[in-house]
Symmetry: C2
Subunit: 483 residues, 2 copies
C-alpha cells in the first residue's frame, strides 16, 4: 500500500535541516517496520506540497536515500522502499532523552493484577484441546449465519442498524428472546425487563457495578466461574465464597446481611451439579426474607440433554428478586458477544444507563443477524445438532474415562464438560500435558483459595472431535500415572 | 411461530388442579400478548409428555378454551390461538400478593440520574434533522461494506473470528490502524500501544476507570462532549471545567494538582475551534512538568476539509503523556461501535485487562469487516465522498445562515456541525422547532452549568441533505424571531 504524505511531519523550529529530518523519518519508519519493502512513497510534488517545502528539498532527501539503498527509484513511477534492506533485530525503542510521564504513579486502578492467566489463546494448535467455551466450527451452521448476516445487510435493515441506537435494542431480537427463548425456561418478561449485553461477562459486570461496591457484601459459589471472581475482585464489595455440595449452593450456608448472591443453579460452574427444586424454593425464600438479589447465571441451559431441563429460578420468582443472565456464546458462538439480562424494570433502567455510558450498545448488525438466525429456526436446529454431538462425545468421554480410571468429581447432567478429581496437583499436570499436545483446565482459577483447586481439573468436549477423545484421555491418564 | 411445550410449567404442589393451571397459563399468555392470534399450540400428545400429565388433562384444558373462544381447533392440524380475542387495554401487571424485593434499596449506584435526556431516538422522522453523530445512508458505501462483511464471513475467517478472542484484537485491523490511520496523524505506535474499544465512548470510559476515581482530580473543557461529562459524573473524581476560548483549551487556565486533562484540541467539541501549535506545545509541557495525563479525543479528524489537518497532540508527544482516542463512528458509521486508544504500553495493558472483565472484546466479525473496508480502500473513498458532500452542505449552511442572520459562535475549520449563538433560550427554541419538523441541539448538555448553554445551539449537517438545509434554516430563524 502506498505511504501517505501525512505520514511525515517536519518541525520548523528544530535545529536539524528539513531535508535531514525527512530522511531520518523515512529511515525510522523502515527500521520500525512501519514502512515495508516495496511500498511506494508519495510523489516529490505531493510530499513537498504537504510539507510546505521546496520540491528540491524532498528530491535531495530521496536521492540521498537511493544512494544509501533505503529507497529504490523506478523510472517515472516514483520511489519505493528497497527490497534489500537488512533490518537489525528489533531492539525496542531506545531510551528517549526527554522526561517521560510516570505511568506507574498514574495508573490509579490496576486491572492486570487479577487478570486471568489460565487461558491459552492459541488453543487451536493443540491436537487434544479439552478447552471450555470455544466454538467448534463443525457444529456452528456457518452457511445459515452467513445468510442471516447478508439479510441483515440489506439496504433497509442496514440503514436502520448502522445508526447510534442510543439506549435502545433491536426490538425484533428482544421480542424473540421474550417470546421464544425465555418461555422455554418458564420466564415471562416484557421488553422493559430485558437488556442486551456484550455477552454474559458484560451482564455480570453491569450487575456488580449497580448492586455492589465498597460497603456491600455478596456471596458466590465456591468453586465458581473465574470471570465472575475477576469482576468482583475489582468491585470493592466484600465477597464471601460459599462451598457447594452435590446439589449446588446450600441455602442454609448463606450468611446474613448480603446484598447479592450469585448462583449457577441449573448447572453449577464448574462442578455440573443441578440444584433440586426444594433447594430452589428455599433459596428464593431466603432472598425475600433476607432481602438479597439473586443472580442466576443460566449459562448452557440449551445444552442440557441428560434429563429434562429444570425450570429457571427466575421462572419461580414471585418476589422479583432474581436477575437472570443468559448468553448466546455457547449456543451460537462466543465471538458473537451477545447476551441478555432479565430483571425488575427498575434494575434494567439502571443497567441500560450504565451500558450507555460505558459502551453505548452492542453493534446493531450483530443484533439483527442474531434475530434472523433465531426466527428462521437456525438456532433451534443448531441446538439440536450440538446436543446430539455433545451426547455422542460425552458417551465417548465416559467410556474412555472409565477405561483409564479417571474419577468424576461432579454432577453429570449435560453441558459441555466434566469436572474431574486429580490425584496429582492439577496445575503441574496441565503444564506437563501441554508439552504433549493436550490442553486441560486445572482447578485453581475456580476456587477462592487456588490451592483447593489442585485436586481438580475440567475436561470440556465442546472443541474436540469424538475421534480424538480416547487418545486425549489416554495421554491424560498416562501423565497422571507418571506424576 | 408455534408455541413451544416448554412455555408451560405446572406446579404439582399447588392446590389448583393441573388442568386449570394449564388453562390459566394459556389465557395469561394471550392477555400478556406473549401468545399471538394464529400461533399454534403444541400437540396434545407433546404437551402431555412434556408436562408429565395424562393426555386427557391437556385435551380437557384445550376443549374448555375452544368453548370460551380463546383457542380455535382446525381439524387434525391442531389448536391455535383464536383470531377474534378482544384484548383489554394493557393495564400492566396487577399487584402481586407475595412480598417483593425492594429494588430501590438495592440499587447502590444510580446511573439513570446523570443520563443524557437530550437525544431523540426517532430523529429520522423529522424532515429537518440538524442532528449530530448519526450516519447519512446517502454517504455510507453500503455495497462496499456488504462486500467486506461477506468476505469476513468466508469459512476460514469466520472460524478464526467466531471464537472467544480473550484479550486479543484482530491483528490485521491493528496493523492497518498503526500503519495507515495513525501515520496520517503523525503518530507512531506499535501493537502494544493500541487497544480496540467499543467506540470512543468506551475508550473514554476505560480511561476514566483507570486514571481517576475518588481522591483524584481532572480537568475538562467547558463546554465539552456531554458523553464525557456523563462518564465523569459517576467516577467519583473531582471534575474541574476549564472555559475554552477561540483557540480551544488555554493551558494557563489549567489548575495544578491534576491527574488528567481531557481535550479535543484539533476540533473542539462543540465550538469547532482548532488549538494553534504554540498552545499545543505549552499544553504538552504542562503535562510533563505538572505530571498529568493528557487525553486527546481526536474525533472527526478525517472530516477536516477547511485547511490542512494539524498534527495530533500525540504526534508531538515526546514524553508519552498523551492518551489518544480515535473512532470509526463518524468515518464509517456509528452503529459499528469500533474505536481505539493509543497510549503507553503500561496504560494499554490495564485498559486491555479492564476491557476483558467488563465485556471481553468487540465482536471479531465487525473487526475483520472493518479491516477489509480499510485495506481495500473503501474507507478512503468514503472519506473523500463525505468531505466533498459536507463541504457542499457547509457552503449551503453558511449562505442560508448569512441570509437569515444566524450568528456563528465558534470556529469553522471543518467537521460536521456549526456552533451558533442563540438570542433566545435555546432549550425552549429546540422544543418549539420540534413541533415544526426541525431538530436542533440546544446548548445545555455541553456546559458544566446547563444555563450557560441557553445562549447556544449546535446545527449538524451530517444527516440532512443540502436540498433541505435552506428551508430548515428559515424555520429556525422564524422561530427565533417569534420567541
Amino acid at each position: 500500500m502506498p505511504i501517505p504524505a501525512e505520514a511525515f511531519i517536519l518541525d520548523r523550529h528544530a535545529a536539524i535541516p528539513l531535508q535531514v529530518q525527512l530522511r531520518r523519518q523515512i529511515i525510522e519508519g523502515v527500521m520500525a517496520r512501519r514502512f515495508r519493502p516495496g511500498e511506494k512513497l508519495p510523489s516529490i510534488r505531493a510530499l513537498a506540497g504537504h510539507l510546505g517545502v521546496a520540491r528540491v528539498t524532498v528530491a535531495q532527501a530521496f536521492a540521498e536515500l537511493v544512494a544509501t539503498d533505503y529507497l529504490s527509484s523506478r523510472d517515472r513511477s516514483g520511489h519505493y522502499i528497497s527490497d534489500g534492506i537488512e533490518l537489525a533485530p528489533d531492539a525496542g525503542t531506545p531510551a528517549p532523552a526527554t522526561p517521560r510521564l510516570d505511568w506507574q504513579r498514574h495508573l490509579n486502578r490496576r486491572f492486570t493484577r487479577a487478570q486471568r492467566r489460565d487461558r491459552v489463546p492459541d488453543w487451536r494448535r493443540f491436537r487434544f484441546p479439552f478447552v471450555y467455551g470455544q466454538a467448534d466450527p463443525e457444529l456452528v451452521d456457518h452457511a445459515a449465519w452467513r445468510d442471516c448476516a447478508v439479510r441483515a445487510l440489506g439496504r433497509r435493515e442496514f440503514d436502520a442498524l448502522t445508526g447510534d441506537l442510543y439506549g435502545e435494542d433491536d426490538p425484533e431480537l428482544i421480542d424473540y428472546i421474550a417470546r421464544h427463548i425465555l418461555t422455554r425456561r418458564g420466564i415471562r418478561a416484557g421488553p422493559e425487563e430485558i437488556l442486551l449485553t456484550l455477552g454474559a461477562q458484560n451482564a455480570l459486570w453491569l450487575i456488580s457495578q449497580i448492586l455492589l461496591g465498597p460497603g456491600r457484601c455478596c456471596a458466590i459459589e465456591d468453586p465458581c466461574y473465574p470471570g465472575l471472581r475477576e469482576i468482583l475482585t475489582h468491585d470493592g464489595a466484600q465477597v464471601l465464597p460459599v462451598a457447594v455440595d452435590a446439589q449446588g449452593l446450600p441455602p442454609d450456608a448463606i450468611p446474613a446481611g448480603l446484598s447479592a448472591v450469585f448462583t449457577t443453579a441449573s448447572h453449577q460452574c464448574p462442578t455440573g451439579s443441578t440444584m433440586p427444586l426444594a433447594r430452589r424454593h428455599a433459596l428464593l425464600d431466603r432472598a425475600l426474607t433476607d432481602g438479597f438479589a439473586l443472580i442466576e447465571d443460566d449459562y448452557e441451559f440449551e445444552l442440557s440433554f441428560a434429563g429434562a431441563t429444570s425450570p429457571a429460578l427466575k421462572a419461580m420468582d414471585r418476589g422479583g428478586a432474581v436477575i437472570y443472565v443468559g448468553s448466546f456464546s455457547k449456543s451460537v458462538f462466543p465471538g458473537l458477544r451477545l447476551g441478555y439480562v432479565v430483571a425488575d424494570p427498575a434494575f434494567i433502567a439502571e443497567a441500560r444507563a450504565l451500558r450507555g455510558l460505558a459502551l453505548r450498545h452492542p453493534p446493531g448488525h450483530m443484533q439483527r443477524t442474531l434475530a434472523h438466525f433465531l426466527s428462521l429456526g437456525h438456532h433451534d436446529a443448531q441446538m439440536k445438532r450440538m446436543r446430539r454431538s455433545y451426547a455422542e462425545r460425552r458417551a465417548v468421554m465416559l467410556a474412555a474415562m472409565a477405561q483409564e480410571g479417571l474419577q468424576m468429581a461432579g454432577g453429570a447432567t449435560g453441558g459441555s464438560s466434566f469436572w474431574l478429581a486429580s490425584p496429582v496437583p492439577s496445575r503441574a499436570l496441565a503444564d506437563l500435558l501441554r508439552t504433549r499436545d493436550v490442553l486441560i483446565e486445572p482447578g485453581w482459577p475456580f476456587f477462592a483459595r487456588p490451592d483447593q483447586g489442585d485436586g481438580f481439573f475440567r475436561l470440556a468436549y465442546s472443541s474436540i472431535s469424538a475421534a480424538r477423545i480416547p487418545e486425549g484421555i489416554r495421554r491424560i491418564a498416562a501423565a497422571i500415572r507418571e506424576a
